[in-house]
Symmetry: C2
Subunit: 202 residues, 2 copies
DNA sequence: TTTTTTGTTGATTGACGAGTCAATAAACGT
DNA sequence: ACGTTTATTGACTCGTCAATCAACAAAAAA
């Protein structure tokens, strides 16, 4: 039965199973056995391919991050103006995909992991830097020197709004979340126009 | 040896020990044994007073929340103007106490708990509602009808900035965090003044 | 064909942990 | 003095789980 080239197949199966199980448990209290079973193999095989539980978690984190990255890239691809790029980033960050139980759980638990596991912290800061760079790139043409600080608070606001929406009771409303962030953006841009002494109507 | 009236003493000792241990572990992967040992008693006694691990965690969460609440109340007590109340809330939210390892760890893990443990979610929403009410009360005299939405994003921004600062490498800088939020507030108030068609200088 | 590499698992090991219980003891009420 | 309540723990039960290992199977290389 042993077909060759199983490694990548087994690994992605394990990663997906891990994310599902984390979603089910709501925590990292997930056994290798549960993961392996969901992925359709023995625990021994999971250890064989990943070496240990922590590495499985890190692979899952990488996967979540890459999904998010892909979504952002996709949204940016269709945006032409800087302003549209900003909207695209915000929209993508609050897409329904990001509010799936497993994804929320993954994020929250990765925050926890990032406290103590250096690999996790590194991954998280990669995400933050990428988001920051994207925001910066879109903001610079609009607000020039103030781009840095606006990008900073915009990034934090996205995280904060996501956190609240994800933990609120009832189904998550990405639309409403996006609106909060867009409003913030509008306020900051308006303030920029004011300090530039431009009437800025049309 | 059994002195009477031990219950409250033992309970607070356990709660404090729990928070320390959560800080040490960076997660809720903390055994009742560790907690009991740090609190200077046997595991059996911990179970005797709290009934189970989950209830110990909830008590710890209540404690963290009450510390935060006390700090907010203290800061508000000295504020006279609405604007000063807002500053006080922001400052208190980013006080050094809130960036201690144990406190950060507690918050992050309570977010995780809130996903699955109803009691934890309830406590978290108590915190959110209290913060919201405080912000609202301070904002209403300044921006009237727009208080609701500004309070919403202000609350989210506080959470988001806290999250980032707490997870950033190096020592946390509450001062810088507070400034980000204060800047946001300034932008929103400026926008409000603009839409009210008032020049608003002094 | 023999050997090596790759895939795969059941069974086992070794450790740890939540919660229970019986037993001990001091204080309190009467 | 005596029964009751409160405090306290060591020892134990029962379960779980990460990680390892020996062994088997098939494909590829030699």
């Amino acid at each position: 039965m042993p077909k060759l080239g199983m490694e990548p197949i087994r690994k992605t199966a394990l990663v997906k199973a891990t994310i599902v199980e984390i979603g089910r448990a709501g925590s990292l209290d997930v056994t290798v056995g549960q993961i392996a079973k969901r992925a359709g193999m023995s625990t021994a095989l999971a250890h064989h391919y990943f070496g240990g539980k922590e590495q499985i978690f890190l692979a899952a984190m990488r996967h979540i991050l890459s999904l998010y990255g892909a979504e952002i890239r996709g949204a940016l691809a269709t945006a032409t103006t800087p302003r549209a790029r900003l909207e695209a980033i915000v929209l993508a960050s609050f897409s329904p995909a990001n509010f799936r139980r497993e994804v929320v759980s993954a994020w929250l638990n990765f925050y926890v992991l990032a406290q103590t596991v250096p690999g996790a912290r590194r991954l998280l800061s990669v995400y933050q830097r990428r988001l920051h760079a994207n925001l910066l790139h879109a903001l610079r043409p609009i607000v020039g020197g103030r781009a840095e600080e606006i990008a900073l608070s915009l990034g934090a606001l996205i995280d904060g709004v996501y956190l609240r929406e994800a933990l609120s009771a009832g189904p998550s409303d990405g639309r409403a979340s996006a609106k909060v962030v867009q409003d913030f953006l509008a306020a900051e841009l308006l303030r920029f126009d004011m300090t530039q002494q431009k009437g800025a109507d049309l």
